[in-house]
C-alpha cells in the first residue's frame, strides 16, 4: 500500500480548514485521482442527464436534466483546468453558470406559459408541434 498521500489532499488550503480529517487521517487507501477518474464521473453524469432528458415526460424535469448535463461539462472543465494548471477552465465554468442561469430563466418562463395554455406539464401535450 502507498503511504498516505497528504500532499495531494492538502493541495488546496481550504481542504485543510474544511476537512480536518485529512490531517488526522483515514487509513491507507489513498492516492491521487488521475484526470481520467474525474472525466469518467463527468461522462457518467452527462449520460444520466441525457437519459433523463430522453425518458422523462415532465417538462420541468427535462430542463433539470439539461442542468445535470451542464454540471457534467463544468466538472470536466475544472478537471482539465487542474490538469493543465491553467485558470481558463475555471473561468469558463463561470460562463457555463451564466448560460445555465439564462437557460433556466427562459425555460421556466416557457414552462409557465405552456402550463397556462394546457394545464399540464406533459411534453406530449405538445406532440402536434412535431415536424
Amino acid at each position: 500500500m502507498m503511504p498516505l498521500n497528504l500532499s495531494a489532499l492538502s493541495e488546496s488550503h481550504l481542504i485543510d480548514a474544511v476537512l480536518p480529517l485529512a490531517q488526522t487521517g483515514f487509513p491507507e487507501p489513498m492516492g491521487a485521482p488521475a484526470l481520467a477518474h474525474y472525466l469518467f464521473v463527468s461522462a457518467a453524469m452527462f449520460v444520466i442527464g441525457l437519459i433523463g432528458f430522453l425518458t422523462r415526460r415532465n417538462l420541468i424535469i427535462m430542463f433539470l436534466c439539461t442542468e445535470l448535463m451542464f454540471q457534467a461539462a463544468g466538472l470536466a472543465l475544472i478537471a482539465f483546468s487542474r490538469f493543465h494548471l491553467e485558470h481558463s477552465g475555471q473561468t469558463f465554468v463561470i460562463f457555463v453558470l451564466t448560460v445555465a442561469a439564462a437557460e433556466a430563466a427562459l425555460a421556466l418562463a416557457l414552462v409557465v406559459l405552456l402550463f397556462r395554455k394546457r394545464e399540464s406539464l406533459s411534453s406530449e401535450e405538445w406532440g402536434e408541434m412535431r415536424g
Partner: protein, 317 residues
C-alpha cells in the same frame, strides 16, 4: 500505453449500470426501482474501484469516491424520482457533491460560487415553478401522481443510447493514465502577485520584513519592483535599495488568480455573457406576461377616472 482499467471490468460495469438505470426509471405498474438502483450502485462501485486497481498511485483518495458516488447516485435519483420536488432536491445534492469535487481539484472559488448560484438561485427558481405549475391535490388523494410523472417514455431505448455513448467516451479515456500534476494550480499563478503590491506589503509587514517608511522601488516601467519568480521584492529603505524575500505564506489565492484570468484574458466573453443575460431577461418577460383583454366599457370607465383625477390635481394646484 497501459490501460488503467481492465476493459472487461469497465464494460461489465457499464452494462450492469445500464440495466440498473433502466430498471430504476419510473414505470406504470410495480416498478423494480429499488433493485435497479442497487444494480446501478453496484456497477458504479465496480467501475470506480476498478479505476484504482491499475493506477500506479494506488486507489484514488477517499473523498473522490465519496463525492463521486454521492453525485452519481443523486443524479440517478433526479431522473428516476416520480415527484418533481424531490428530483429538484436531489439535484441540489448533486450540486453539493460536485462542489466537493471542485474542492479536491483546488477550485475553491468555483466550488462556493456553484453552491450559491446553483443551489441558492437556480434551483430555488425551479422549485418556485414546480409549485406554481402543479395543481393542488384534492383532499381525498393527497398522494396523486400525474401520469406523465409516473411513467417514463421508452426507457430501454434511451438507456441503450446513453450507455453506448458512455462506453465510447470511457474507452477513449482509459487508453492511458494521465496523473494530475503535482503542486497547486495557484502556485503556477503566483505571477499575479506582481500586480498586487498592497498584498505583498501586508504580508511583508506581518513577517516584520517591512519597516515603517519603506516603499517599493520602481522598475523601468514605473511599476513596483516585485519579482514573483524569485519570490523577492525590492524596497527603498532610508534611501537605499534592499531586496527582501517573500515569506513562505505569501501565495496567490485561487480567487485572485481566477479574477486576473477572468478579466484580463476574456473581456469579450464577459460582454457576450452580459448580452446573453439581457436577452434572457427580455425573453422571460415577453414569454411569461399575460395578455389581459379589456372590453370597451371598462376602458372607457378607466379613461374617465383618469381624466377626473387629472382635473382634480389641476384644481388643487
Amino acid at each position: 500505453m497501459d490501460l488503467i482499467i481492465n476493459p472487461y471490468i469497465l464494460y461489465v460495469g457499464i452494462v450492469l449500470g445500464a440495466i440498473g438505470v433502466c430498471l430504476a426509471l419510473p414505470r406504470a405498474r410495480v416498478s423494480p426501482q429499488g433493485i435497479g438502483a442497487l444494480l446501478a450502485a453496484l456497477a458504479g462501485g465496480l467501475v470506480i474501484i476498478g479505476l484504482g486497481l491499475r493506477n500506479p498511485e494506488g486507489l484514488p483518495n477517499l473523498y473522490f469516491y465519496l463525492f463521486s458516488i454521492l453525485a452519481l447516485g443523486s443524479a440517478l435519483r433526479v431522473i428516476s424520482h416520480q415527484r418533481p420536488v424531490y428530483a429538484a432536491l436531489y439535484f441540489i445534492l448533486t450540486i453539493l457533491a460536485s462542489a466537493g469535487m471542485y474542492l479536491l481539484l483546488s477550485a475553491e472559488f468555483m466550488a462556493f460560487a456553484l453552491i450559491i448560484v446553483y443551489a441558492g438561485a437556480i434551483l430555488i427558481t425551479y422549485l418556485f415553478v414546480i409549485m406554481l405549475a402543479t395543481q393542488a391535490p384534492s383532499e381525498e388523494e393527497t398522494e396523486r401522481l400525474e401520469a406523465y410523472d409516473a411513467q417514463s417514455r421508452d426507457p430501454v431505448l434511451a438507456t441503450i443510447i446513453g450507455f453506448v455513448l458512455l462506453a465510447a467516451l470511457s474507452t477513449m479515456l482509459f487508453r492511458g493514465s494521465a496523473a494530475l500534476p503535482a503542486g497547486t494550480i495557484d502556485a503556477g499563478g503566483n505571477a499575479v502577485l506582481a500586480q498586487l503590491p498592497r498584498r505583498v506589503e501586508r504580508s511583508l509587514r506581518d513577517a516584520d520584513a517591512w519597516q515603517d517608511g519603506d516603499r517599493f522601488a520602481t522598475d523601468a516601467a514605473g511599476l513596483p519592483a516585485i519579482d514573483p519568480e524569485h519570490r523577492t521584492a525590492t524596497l527603498v529603505r532610508r534611501g537605499e535599495e534592499v531586496t527582501v524575500e517573500f515569506p513562505e505564506s505569501l501565495q496567490a489565492r485561487n480567487v485572485e488568480s481566477l479574477a486576473f484570468n477572468f478579466l484580463n484574458e476574456h473581456p469579450g466573453t464577459i460582454e457576450i455573457a452580459g448580452v446573453l443575460l439581457l436577452m434572457a431577461m427580455l425573453g422571460a418577460v415577453v414569454l411569461s406576461r399575460r395578455q389581459v383583454q379589456f372590453d370597451e366599457e371598462v376602458k372607457a370607465r378607466q379613461a374617465r377616472r383618469l381624466a377626473e383625477a387629472i382635473r382634480r390635481e389641476g384644481g388643487a394646484a
